[in-house]
Symmetry: C2
Subunit: 400 residues, 2 copies
C-alpha cells in the first residue's frame, strides 16, 4: 500500500519565499518516492500579527467573525505560494483552504473546534497523484462562515486530518522535538518519546510545543505525532500512547506558563447565584480557567483562578454583565505571577515527587501562592521574577 503522510510546517518554517522553495524541494523528494502527502501550513512568519496590528487601527474590540475572516487569508496565501513552488518543480499539487479540505467546525469563531474532516477532497487529489496543500488553523461552520481554530490551531488541523486518513502526523518547527523544559530556560535533554497525557499537560501548562487541543485529538484517535526540526536530520520526539512507551520516568518535564493571569473576584456576601452565573458565563465565553480557589469569610466571598492572558476582553465582558446585577462585585487581574509545573506519567506509580518539588522550592527561597495537582502533574503559582529560577532548580533536581 502507498504510504500516506500528513506533514505540518509552522509559520517560521514558511517565513519567507526561499524557505517555501526549500520546503517544496523536500516535499518533491518525498512525493517522487511515491508517498501520498497532505501538507498543512500556517500563515507566513508574522503575517497573523501584522493583520491584527492593522485591526488595532480600526477597533479595539473587533467582531470575532470579522477577525476570523481576516486571519484565514494568511494561510490561504501560504498554500497558494507553496502550490506554485511545488508546480515549479513539476510536482502536481492541489491547494485547499480549510473549508475546501472539508474541515467543519463549531463553536466560537476565533477558537472553533473541528467537528469532522470530510476527506473526499484528499482521496480525489491522491487519485490524480497530487500533493495536497491545506491551510491550517481554519475551517467552516454549519452557517457557512469561515472560522479559525485559535492560535496554534494548524497543529490541530494536521492531527485531525491524520486521524481521518488513519495515519501518523509529522509536525516540523524550528526546534527539534520536545525538551525536559523550554531550552531557552534551562539546557534540558531532548525527550525521545513522551505520552499523550504528559504532552497534554505540558501544552496546557505552558511548555508551548503543541496545542493541547491537537494532542487531545491525537490521543482520542490514536494518532502518533512526530515532532521534528524543519529540514533537519536531527532526531525529534515521538508522542504516542502511554502503553506503547516501555521505559517510564517519574518526571518527564518542567513547564513554565508566563502567559497567564491570576484573577480574583470578590463580593461582600457568599452568593451562590453569583457563582453560578459566573461559571455559566465563563463556559459560554469558552474561557478555560484553572487552579480555582474559593475563600468565604467575614469579608464575604473571594474566588481566584488562573486563565490565559488572551481572554481578558471576554473576562471584562463577563464582569460588565455581572456587575449590572451585582453592583458591589469587584475583580482584580494580576499578571505578575507565573505557573511552574512538574509533569510525568510515572508520578502515578512513584511516590516522593510532590515532596521533592516542595523541598526544592523551599531550599531556594521561592515563595508560592497556590498549588494544584493532577494525576500526572503538580503546579505552583510563583512570582514572575522567580519563574526561571524555579524551572532551573526543578530541572536539576529531577535530572532533566
Amino acid at each position: 500500500m502507498t504510504k500516506r503522510s500528513v506533514i505540518k510546517f509552522g509559520g517560521t518554517s514558511v517565513g519567507d519565499f526561499s524557505k517555501i522553495k526549500n520546503i517544496a524541494k523536500y516535499l518533491a523528494n518525498r512525493a517522487n518516492k511515491g508517498e501520498e502527502l497532505v501538507v498543512v501550513v500556517s500563515a507566513m512568519g508574522k503575517t497573523t500579527d501584522e493583520l491584527l496590528k492593522n485591526v488595532d487601527l480600526l477597533s479595539k474590540e473587533p467582531d470575532q467573525h470579522d477577525l476570523a475572516l481576516l486571519l484565514t487569508t494568511g494561510e490561504q496565501q501560504t498554500i497558494s505560494y507553496l502550490a506554485i513552488a511545488l508546480k515549479e518543480l513539476d510536482v502536481k499539487a492541489k491547494a485547499m483552504t480549510g473549508f475546501q479540505a472539508g474541515i467543519k467546525t463549531k463553536g466560537h469563531y476565533m477558537k472553533s473546534k473541528i467537528l469532522e474532516v470530510d476527506n473526499e477532497a484528499f482521496e480525489k487529489a491522491f487519485c490524480s497523484n497530487k500533493v495536497v496543500v491545506v491551510a491550517g488553523f481554519q475551517g467552516m461552520n454549519a452557517d457557512g462562515e469561515l472560522t479559525t481554530l485559535g492560535r496554534g490551531g494548524s497543529d490541530t488541523t494536521a492531527v485531525a486530518i491524520a486521524s481521518s486518513l488513519e495515519t501518523s502526523c509529522e509536525i516540523y518547527t524550528d526546534v527539534a522535538g520536545v525538551y525536559g523544559t523550554d531550552p531557552r530556560l534551562y539546557p534540558a535533554k531532548r525527550i525521545d518519546v513522551v505520552s499523550f497525557e504528559e504532552m497534554m499537560e505540558m501544552s496546557a501548562l505552558g511548555a508551548g510545543v503543541l496545542e493541547t487541543r491537537s494532542v487531545e485529538i491525537a490521543k482520542n484517535y490514536h494518532v502518533p505525532i512526530y515532532l521534528g526540526q524543519t529540514l533537519s536530520d536531527e532526531r525529534g520526539t515521538w508522542v504516542m500512547p502511554q502503553k506503547d512507551i516501555l521505559e517510564k520516568k517519574a518526571v518527564t518535564g518542567v513547564a513554565l506558563d508566563k502567559d497567564m493571569h491570576y484573577v480574583t473576584f470578590s463580593y461582600p456576601e457568599n452568593d451562590a447565584t453569583l457563582l453560578k452565573q459566573l461559571f455559566n458565563l465563563l463556559e459560554k465565553e469558552e474561557i478555560n480557567i484553572d487552579m480555582i480557589s474559593q475563600i468565604v469569610n467575614e469579608d464575604g466571598l473571594q474566588l481566584s483562578f488562573t486563565m490565559k492572558d488572551t481572554d481578558t476582553v471576554e473576562l471584562k465582558h463577563i464582569f460588565d454583565t455581572l456587575h449590572k446585577e451585582f453592583t458591589e462585585l469587584n475583580y482584580v487581574v494580576k499578571s505578575d505571577y507565573v505557573k511552574v509545573s512538574v509533569i510525568g506519567s510515572g508520578m502515578r506509580d512513584m511516590s516522593g515527587v510532590a515532596s521533592k518539588v516542595f523541598m526544592t522550592l523551599l531550599e531556594n527561597d521561592i515563595e508560592f501562592y497556590q498549588v494544584t495537582t493532577s494525576e500526572i502533574s503538580i503546579s505552583y503559582v510563583v512570582d514572575r521574577t522567580n519563574g526561571v529560577l524555579a524551572v532551573e532548580k526543578l530541572c536539576e533536581a529531577f535530572g532533566l
Copy 2:
C-alpha cells in the same frame, strides 16, 4: 419601499486604514437614513500587485488556479477591515467573500465570468438590518474552486449584484465620472450621461473607466450605473440605455489604448487548418483579439491582430502548441503601437465623422497602420509616440 443601493469602491478608495474609516462613516450615514446597502470593495491599494510580485519569486508561469486562490485574499482582507470599521460606528454589518455572497462563476480561473448571483444571503442580511460588505472580483465555480474575474472585476461584481437586486449601481473611484478622454491626456469636459454602448466601446478601447464586461451586464440587465468620485459632492456621470438619453452628440469620447500588443503570425503557405486551429486556441484561452487583418500573397499567409498585453503568456502557449505541427510558423509581438478610437452613438445618424478623423490625423502628420470601424466607433493603430498627440487633436476637432 426601502431604498436599496449597491455601492462599489475601488482599490485606491480603500487604499489605507483612514480611508476605510472615512468610507465607513459615509456608509453609516446612509445606512442610518434607512437605506439597504450592499458595498462591494476591491483589494486595498497595491495589494494585488504586491501578491503578484511575491509569486514572481517562486515561478514565472504560475498556475492560474493558485493565482486566483492567492489574489482573492486581497478583497477578503478589505471586507474584514470595512466590517470592523462599520461595527466600530455601531452599524450592523455582514462581510461576505464572493462565494458567500452567492457569486457563481464559470470559465478560466483568472478571468472567470459571473454565471449567477444567488441573493439569498443579501436578503437574510437585510432582514437583520445589516450593511452587506462583499469582496469584489471573485466567486466560486461549479467545482468549488475560488476564482477571480480578472482585473477590474469588482465593477462586474457590483453590477451583477445590482442586477440581481433590481436596482442601480454606484461606482466610486478617485475620478469624478467619465471625461471626453483620459484627463491626464487632454483637459476634456466631463460627460453627464453616456449610453451603455458608448461606455462599452470606451472601456474596450482603453478609456479604462469601467470594465467592458461590467457595462455589458449593466446593458443586458438594464442596470443604470452612476460613476462618481469617492466621498465627493462633485457631479459624476450616469451610464444608461441610449433610448433614455435625450440629447445625442456625434462624438462622445476619444480613447487611447496603450496596453495592447500588435501580433503577426506568418506561415509560408495559406493553410486553412492552421487558421482554424489558431482561432480555436484563441477562443479556448479566452484571448480577445481585435482589428484582425489577413494578407495572402506569394510569401504565404500573414495574420495580424491586436490583443491585451496581459495575454502574452497564453499567446506563447498557443504558438508552442501550433509550432509542433506547423514547424515553419513564426510570430512577432509588437508593443510600439497604440490604438486611438473615436466613439459616439451619434455616428449612426450623423455623417462626416470618419472623414473628420482621417483629416485630423493627416493634417498632423500622424501615420496609421490599420483602421476598423464599428457602428459607434472608429479605431486607428498609430505609433506609440503619436498616441497622445492624436488624442489631443481629435478632442480639439470634436470640441470635447
